[in-house]
């Protein structure tokens, strides 16, 4: 056993020395390899992080939302529907939600207006996100004018500003009282935006949703699980598409690796010839080539993965963000925390290292079977 390890150590020793002797040629290869790993890893890490963030954010969302649809469009829903829903066994609570968007022409931004469940906001006042306060240069106590549905103006006093830590989710948020909300948008008393339903046993969610659909045929039911699943699918789909596009570069890289491995210089061929003449066997030369591949792969893989991690952690994957995150599709903004697990590294291994290895096996074998007599002559 010890002798065998010693033997491998010697082969490895020789391999590393040989690699260093041809520094420039190998440096180019390692550089391209690192770049490929970096690109693939950035996509994989980033789409996974987005998925996690969406999951974390949606933790606080209601389990089920019931929306009314008219002619295939989301419509306001009558509060009377609540009674029918509450009658269904298993429903713990149901309430109407009031929310909407308001475009502020002064700063050219969209606000999200929401009536909180608890009556924490007094009529005539509002609680706003830090981003909004900054944009409007206002502080607690200031008034902000809103243009109501009939063109008149309505002033609301800022009672509270959300701290900046909550900023990414709440920076465009405005909490208002129900009266103000209805007055602003001219929404009748008996209508709300949608209904949030709470269910005692989460396993019954689909059944209850089905019952609601039967009792109220003009509504659609959206489960939190489904929103999550859709986000998951969207992010992974985007990540997959990017990887499919990048696979073109991987292919080019494989060709480069294949070409480099098969186009051996006369000097290298002579080197292998000498090795074989002094007693190396074909299997040893293949072993050496295998170590060579491993050394190059690790040298490229580790920095590539680390750089990608930094790319996602420090710049929120600045290169790919618009493609992967989408524009207005996802309303809440995300702060990116990279999230790493073994399967991602394994996936990267299959996307980058395996193709490289496969591309070099056959040229390595070709190199290993050279006839010492033929090359040294």
């Amino acid at each position: 056993m010890g002798a065998r390890i010693e033997r491998q150590k010697n082969i490895l020793d020789y391999t590393l020395a040989a690699l260093l002797r041809r520094k420039r040629k190998n440096a180019v290869l390692v550089l391209v390899y690192t770049l490929i790993v970096f690109l693939l890893a950035s996509v994989v890490f980033f789409s996974r992080s987005l998925q996690r963030e969406a999951a974390d954010l949606l933790q606080g969302a209601p389990e089920m939302i019931v929306q009314r649809q008219v002619a295939g469009r989301h419509e306001l829903i009558p509060l009377a529907y609540l009674e029918k829903i509450k009658k269904i066994r298993g429903v713990q609570a149901a309430r109407g939600r009031l929310w909407g968007y308001y475009y502020d022409p002064v700063v050219g931004a969209n606000y999200t207006l929401l009536v909180p469940e608890s009556r924490e906001v007094a009529p005539g006042t509002m609680a706003v996100g830090e981003g909004l306060a900054r944009l409007r240069l206002s502080a607690v106590g200031d008034d902000i004018e809103f243009r109501t549905h009939d063109g008149s103006l309505k002033e609301l006093k800022i009672a509270r500003i959300f701290p900046a830590e909550l900023g990414l989710v709440s920076s465009d948020l405005v909490l208002v009282a129900e009266e103000d909300f209805r007055g602003l948008f001219g929404m009748p008393r008996e209508l709300v935006t949608d209904l949030a339903v709470q269910v005692r046993n989460p396993k019954e969610l689909p059944t209850i949703a089905y019952k609601i659909a039967e009792a109220l045929p003009d509504t659609r039911q959206i489960l939190r699980e489904e929103i999550l699943r859709t986000y998951d699918a969207v992010f992974n789909w985007r990540g997959g598409i990017l990887i499919a596009i990048l696979s073109g570069s991987v292919l080019a890289f494989i060709l480069l690796a294949w070409d480099k491995a098969s186009g051996m210089s006369m000097e290298e061929r002579r080197e292998i010839g000498v090795l074989k003449a002094i007693g190396w066997e074909t299997a040893d030369v293949i072993q050496m080539k295998c170590w060579e591949g491993l050394a190059i792969s690790l040298t490229a893989f580790l920095p590539g993965v680390l750089l990608a991690y930094a790319h996602v952690a420090l710049t929120s994957a600045g290169l790919f963000e618009p493609v992967l995150k989408g524009w207005a599709v996802l309303y809440p903004h995300f702060s990116i925390k990279p999230y790493l697990d073994v399967s991602q590294v394994a996936a990267l291994f299959f996307l980058a290292v395996v193709p490289y290895t496969v591309a070099t096996i056959i040229p390595s074998w070709r190199a290993a079977i050279v006839d010492p007599d033929a090359v040294m002559r």
Binding site: Y210, N236, I286, A346, A347, I361
Partner: protein, 331 residues
């Protein structure tokens, strides 16, 4: 069809392995048909060189198979959120008819490629390659299975369709199906435990005997295969229950999750490794009378039996530890 990065990685892995196998096929055929060690012809010389290529290709294919086996389960696990009613990998593999066959074929292929490498190792140590035609025939039979695995896996992934929200309604109405496979409670609890410990005990006992005496490897090989099967069934019928501490959760995949301290990796790696080396010890026996292998095989058999013993003992010890530590009491 889902465009998931890890799915693409699995496609890439399978295509690469298939490429290696396809590339190895023509030279293998040539070796099988035309091998003649006594000939000094140029053709024989070329063929001899090609044997190095085939061994190298298959060694890599084997390594990739092992790694992608776990990645496959991992991916199935991640995918479960896409399907209404699936709780973990057990559910997502059940979504269409290709999920489980792919997994089973992957396991079989892993064992077969491993056995091929063991035979190949022995054969390469003898100066006159006595097993060469046999091992290449073995490979010719094995290759279609690996290609079939790639096809089945593609079938599985291509037919996946996530239950996402559509614009007209929530996707609720696909909830009629249940994606929880019938729990294969092969055996009632009590006999299952008795059978598991009996088979393990006999296998380990006979293995120690075979190791010391240098014979009985064929029987050990059969016992190892049996132990592998019984252990897999036991994971379904009681081992998983003890680990999850839930009498109703008989899932072989959640063991691989971090919540259970990745105990599944220890269990499956020791079990697969033990099964492979145990079976491998026995299939060498018929060749031990061939001159040139008479010394090599018994020595290797001892090593294989010892490895299998260590791995089986490890498996049994981890299982026993989990049962003792568990708060679940099954009667």
């Amino acid at each position: 069809m889902l465009f998931h990065p890890t799915i693409l990685a699995l496609y890439a892995g399978s295509l690469m392995v298939s490429f290696l196998v396809l590339y190895a096929l023509p030279p293998t055929w040539q070796v099988w048909r035309r091998w003649d060690l006594n000939s000094g012809s140029e053709e024989q010389l070329t063929i001899e060189r090609k044997t190095y290529l085939i061994s190298t290709l298959l060694a890599y294919a084997f390594a990739f198979e092992l790694l992608s086996l776990f990645l496959y389960i991992f991916t199935a696990e991640q995918l479960h959120t896409y399907f209404v009613g699936a709780m973990c990998a057990a559910g997502s593999l059940y979504v269409n008819a290709y999920g489980y066959p792919t997994l089973i074929l992957r396991l079989i292929n892993f064992l077969l490629v491993g056995l091929w490498l063991i035979v190949n190792y022995v054969d390469n140590r003898a100066p006159d390659y006595p097993l060469i035609r046999k091992k290449y025939l073995f490979f010719l039979l094995l290759a279609p299975l690996i290609l079939l695995e790639t096809a089945l896996q593609a079938g599985y992934f291509l037919q996946l369709k996530a239950d996402v929200i559509t614009s007209c309604c929530g996707s609720l109405f696909s909830t009629d199906r249940t994606l929880i496979p019938d729990t294969p409670n092969f055996l009632p609890q009590f006999p299952a435990r008795v059978i598991f410990y009996t088979v393990m005990g006999v296998t380990i006992g006979w293995g120690s005997y075979a190791y010391r005496q240098g014979r009985g490897a064929v029987l050990f090989s059969g016992l190892s295969a049996l132990a592998l099967l019984v252990s897999v069934m036991s994971i379904f019928s009681f081992i998983s229950l003890y680990i999850y501490e839930l009498p109703s959760h008989a899932c072989p995949f959640c063991l691989l999750k971090p919540e259970y301290h990745y105990v599944g990796y220890v269990l499956y790696l020791s079990l697969l490794g033990g099964g492979l080396t145990g079976i491998g010890a026995g299939i060498l026996s018929p060749f031990r009378n061939i001159t040139g292998l008479a010394v090599i095989i018994p020595a290797l058999q001892k090593k294989l039996i010892l490895t299998a013993l260590i791995l089986f003992v490890m498996f049994a010890a981890v299982v026993t530890f989990q049962i003792v530590r568990s708060n679940l009491v099954l009667s």
